[in-house]
Symmetry: C2
Subunit: 256 residues, 2 copies
């Protein structure tokens, strides 16, 4: 009999987040689980890494179960680097990140610590998936997602994720009704329009809060935003070769 | 006569960095310059944004010249958001980021605060270029780069950077001899193998320093690594649609 797959679990909301706990429960049904997650919330950290400071990493146990757990002072990308290169004896068969409390669809993938952890695993040659729910509440209901996460993860282990590709999976927030199914999508061309909320602190100094409005002008019916709005789970294959290959020709006409 | 272009200048090494100062000098020759840069070094911050904390932004003056300068407590991406959406009266004609003290070629683009600032501008519809020198020293010699930066920036203003594309420009470090020219390149398929340096702090607690070795197995003569090794400036068109379009077909064969 084949040995159980080794699964690395991480996130960006921190090691105590309910979304991570749900993900651990699903993964414990599939394989041997090692959790290496940030000791504090790291939302919006993008692909930050710790290069001018030190990292702490402690073996802890947050909830019951067969999983090993490590709490790390770094970013999500740090956690994955530390897990693969220092803590684990062998390369994991799969890395899963999340379940994020909040959307990582469309352009949000760029700012996402959840997806950066998955992308970091992908760069290091480990098949990886990021999972996010369109609900930023701490007590969001992750239970209905579990069967889908199990199905996607088992299929990824069986079929193999394409080389140099990382899956970005987002779940719709449905108040009534059921999830309609899953769709393979492309990233919608959307963006945020920021509105800075300017205030004055008790010492009289001005400061800002970053707020914003999400604008999606992409009418395509093959995008993640379309799928999520219609009640589907969106699965976007994501890559870390950022080259805009289609523009190489045009740039070669420049006088340089 | 046409008015001078409005140019936003930022970086990730902080507002006092010599690389930024060199970039400001070049841009003052081309247009009306507004600097919005981090008040402290932000290397390796990737595309981090400040969402659970506040931002300070102060008008200051670091060096002589016609440029306006703002020092900001946030990340490079925060600086660009704040500049475009709050500080500037109109959208800039160009955003330049750098000159970074150190390489942002190949996979380093993912971790780069310099490039994330440029990419953030691109997302917001502003033509953008990140400049980096393969020398992380504070007193690196940026002088020989100036003529090239001016040429690339003027060409970008004249021809227009392709839509949804941001340029990643890296300069080779040449001990002897001259820069051979410029090459439009793709991102080399390279990665870092991390080696964690494990130490014990004065209180007896273990901690890590992240160190690593850069591995480039990509033998292509069209990559940024190839160009830089041969003494050329590399220019990689970079995009923020991370969809791996080539893998959509394969994933649609999965049983989901």
């Amino acid at each position: 009999m084949k040995t159980k797959p080794l699964i690395l679990v991480t996130n960006d909301d921190g090691i105590t987040a309910p979304g991570l706990r749900s993900l651990i429960e699903v993964m414990n049904e599939i394989g041997e689980v090692v959790v290496v997650a940030p000791d504090s919330p790291q939302s919006g950290m993008g692909h930050a890494i710790t290069i001018n400071s030190t990292l702490y990493c402690d073996k802890i146990k947050v909830t019951d179960g067969p999983q090993l757990e490590y709490s790390c002072s770094g970013t999500p990308a740090d956690c994955v680097k530390l897990a693969i290169n220092e803590l684990l004896d062998k390369k994991p068969d799969l890395c899963v990140s999340g379940i994020n409390h909040g959307s990582n669809s469309s352009i949000n993938v760029i700012y996402s610590g959840t997806m950066s952890a998955a992308i970091e695993a992908g760069i290091e040659g480990v098949p990886a998936i990021g999972f996010s729910l369109l609900d930023f509440k701490w007590n969001a209901n992750f239970k209905p997602l579990k069967e889908y996460i199990k199905k996607i993860s088992l299929e990824a282990l069986k079929k193999g994720i394409p080389k140099d590709v990382v899956l970005n999976v987002n779940f719709p927030l449905l108040k009534n009704g059921k999830i309609k199914g899953m769709k393979i999508c492309r990233q919608a061309r959307a963006y945020w329009v920021e509105e800075f909320d300017k205030r004055t602190n008790p010492m009289g100094r001005e400061y800002y809060w970053l707020t914003g409005t999400f604008i999606n002008e992409d009418k395509g019916e093959d995008t993640d935003e379309w799928a999520l709005n219609k009640g589907y789970i969106s699965i976007v294959p994501t890559q870390f070769d950022l080259t805009a290959h289609h523009s190489l020709q045009q740039l070669n006409t420049w006088s340089l």
